[in-house]
């Protein structure tokens, strides 16, 4: 895999306040990359620098090794958090105008737009004015305008907010499609469950600095706690090596004493004919990691 976009030691200040502080990361072909962090962490500033909307004070952003410029802008697609289109324009006119600004031949737009509108079940709206559509429908149209020129990198800022479950699934499917076609998708969101479900790698920023960066499963495994989750039938009794039992909604959490491994506990359960429905080494959710990391830096 090769890097589509690389940020190296990027710094941005506003009125002397550091918004992004020495941030370095890259996004590879064919991956969904989560950009997460609390409000005011510097995510939007980072995205704007990647889109060449604002320039970094120092550091460099490159797309396919090339400095940002008019040609690289055409390889990127951006859907901002607060969405809007020209209210008086019709759907196809909006798509055509914004696609042409991304360097797409206007003559090719209608056919491609019809394909995407058809896929999203919105072909009937192609002649409608944007102001006649619901917020969710407008959001799907904006997603179409973001990807119609077949960008190599798509940046989606809170793409699922305001969408109903059906459209949320539709958008997820389309993100996976983009990934499978070798495109990179950067997902900036506060919905950690979506990040866990969709993202291969993440960058967590806080106060403009990188807090966590890398493969999501590796990051999570680094946060493995010293306990196992167990759902069983029968009488458990005392388990050697377990210092504490914590009752949860539909299972119990066994806290190990530090000398015993999860494997040893499982062997004991099997040996004593405990009917095990679920045995899982406990790892915190991304949401818990997020709260942990952000909380750590607030202290």
């Amino acid at each position: 895999m090769s890097s589509i976009i690389t940020c190296e030691h990027v710094v941005k200040r506003y009125d002397g306040v550091v918004a992004v502080d020495d941030l370095s990361f890259s996004v590879e072909e064919g991956e969904i990359f989560g950009l997460i962090g609390p409000n005011g962490a510097g995510k939007t500033t980072t995205i704007r620098m990647m889109m060449d909307i604002i320039k970094p004070d120092s550091g460099e952003v490159t797309v396919f090794g090339e400095k940002l410029g008019e040609t690289t802008k055409n390889k990127l697609g951006y859907m901002p958090e607060e969405r809007g289109l020209y209210k008086k324009l019709r759907v196809l006119e909006s798509i055509t105008y914004l696609a042409s600004l991304k360097g797409m031949d206007r003559r090719l737009v209608p056919e491609k737009a019809d394909k995407l509108l058809g896929r999203t079940g919105m072909l009937a709206t192609r002649g409608k004015k944007i102001e006649e559509m619901s917020k969710g429908m407008g959001q799907i149209i904006q997603f179409i305008t973001t990807i119609i020129h077949d960008p190599m990198l798509i940046i989606l800022d809170e793409p699922f907010s305001g969408l109903d479950p059906v459209n949320t699934e539709l958008l997820k499917d389309m993100c996976f499609d983009l990934k499978n076609r070798g495109r990179a998708v950067i997902l900036s969101t506060h919905q950690m469950n979506q990040v866990e479900e969709l993202c291969d790698r993440i960058l967590m920023v806080n106060k403009g600095r990188a807090v966590l960066y890398g493969d999501l499963s590796e990051i999570k495994s680094g946060y493995q706690s010293n306990s196992v989750l167990l759902d069983y039938l029968g009488e458990l009794g005392e388990v050697p090596g377990v210092s504490e039992k914590r009752a949860r909604k539909d299972h119990i959490e066994l806290v190990l004493d530090g000398k015993t491994t999860p494997g040893e506990v499982l062997a004991y359960l099997v040996k004593h004919d405990i009917n095990v429905n679920r045995f899982e080494v406990a790892t915190p959710s991304l949401n818990e990691i997020f709260l942990m990391e952000v909380g750590k830096h607030r202290e």
Partner: protein, 405 residues
């Protein structure tokens, strides 16, 4: 296609499809054609009937006012006493009456009685009574021709000569001022509307964050220049419609109505200077609007701020009566040189008097320099403030940020 051209095309088409733009563009020729049509209709309907004769009474207490009792469409009926005249008035035989008192020769005073509430005596009535009195006073003393000359002593016909003594092609007068006057009025509105569209468009793009999508595709410079050119071309279409239709309509008015309309002509260089001042005026208002649109968080704030300079465009129109009386007043020199008022003031002045070459040059050079300086500042403001959505910055903050930009 070049991205600036794409923005230009979008802004141009978007603007000319606006209902407000279409109405504003067509309203002038349509109203003028309607006015000519209504005039034609009224004259056709009223032509067959003869001019209605009005009879007014008079009481001659001085004596000697017996003749010349027909003055145009007014007939003078003599009554011996005020009571008789009052009775004739209240019974509807006459519409009004007047009394020539014994001491009229000493005082010139005539008492007029009427049933109508009026601000003052209608000028046509004053003229008729005056001619009736004069004719009778001069009867048997001077010839009839002399009496008529005393009643209407002069008609001034002015011929303007060139410095070599030839008849000048540009004769001046109200006939010369009418087209530049109308054009100045329309130009003020056009600049106003264009500035308003510009600020509104940018405000909407900021409010719905479309500006971020646009800036992820084009540079601020491409966006600004595309917008200025697109809106400018739309304004040009508007002015072109007016410039083409104005002489045609005035020609039609001259042919059908005649009179004053037949004296209307275009001052020399009017079309060339009209186009130059439209372009410069438009560019000035566009760069000002770009700056205002960039620092304003939304449409409403932007339009309020834009009032500061759009109202200035109308200042020369407020002073236009002063121009007709004192065309060489220093106020007019200031208005033709101050960039925001220059386009409108120059158009007005062009129709009234000659403009010295130095004044024209100073006006155009200062206007062009202002545009260059403001364009430079606007691009900087555009870069700094286009993505700031909060409170509108103060002047101090803007200057500080521009220094750092």
């Amino acid at each position: 296609m070049n991205k600036t051209l794409l923005i230009f095309r979008h802004e141009f088409l978007h603007t000319i499809k606006r209902i407000g733009f279409v109405v504003m563009t067509l309203v002038v020729p349509v109203i003028a054609l309607l006015a000519i049509g209504i005039y034609q209709l009224v004259t056709t309907v009223t032509e067959p009937s003869a001019v209605e004769v009005t009879t007014i009474g008079y009481v001659d207490e001085l004596g000697g006012f017996d003749g010349y009792t027909t003055q145009g469409a007014i007939e003078f009926a003599r009554y011996d006493t005020r009571d008789e005249a009052t009775q004739a008035l209240t019974s509807g035989d006459i519409s009004e009456y007047f009394v020539i008192p014994h001491d009229y020769i000493l005082t010139g005073l005539v008492n007029r009685y009427t049933l109508e509430k009026q601000l003052e005596t209608p000028p046509s009535m004053v003229a008729a009574i005056k001619n009736f009195l004069t004719s009778n006073l001069l009867s048997d003393r001077v010839s009839r021709d002399t009496a008529i000359r005393i009643e209407a002593p002069l008609y001034v016909v002015v011929t303007r000569l060139t410095e070599t003594g030839d008849i000048a092609s540009d004769q001046g007068g109200y006939g010369n001022a009418i087209v530049p006057g109308i054009f100045a009025f329309l130009l003020a509105f056009s600049l106003n509307f264009s500035a308003s569209y510009f600020v509104q468009g940018l405000g909407e793009e900021k409010e719905n964050r479309l500006i971020e999508v646009l800036l992820s595709s084009v540079s601020p410079r491409q966006l600004l220049i595309g917008k200025i050119l697109g809106l400018g071309a739309a304004g040009m279409v508007q002015v072109a419609v007016w410039l083409i239709s104005l002489p045609l309509i005035l020609g039609l008015a001259s042919a059908t109505i005649g009179g004053f309309f037949s004296t209307i002509e275009l001052p020399p260089n009017f079309v060339v200077l009209g186009i130059i001042y439209f372009i410069l005026g438009y560019l000035l208002f566009a760069v000002l609007s770009a700056g205002v649109g960039a620092i304003s968080p939304g449409v409403r704030e932007g339009q309020q701020l834009a009032l500061v300079y759009t109202l200035f465009a109308f200042v020369p129109l407020w002073f236009s009566s002063l121009l007709f009386v004192f065309p060489s007043s220093p106020i007019w020199k200031v208005l033709t040189i101050f960039p925001i008022t220059a386009p409108i003031a120059m158009m007005l002045k062009l129709g009234v008097t000659d403009i010295p070459a130095w004044e024209l040059a100073a006006s155009i050079i200062i206007l062009a320099l202002s545009i260059i300086v403001l364009l430079f500042l606007s691009i900087k403001i555009f870069r700094v403030y286009l993505l700031m959505y909060g409170k509108r910055p103060g002047l101090g903050e803007i200057i500080r940020n521009l220094r750092n930009a």
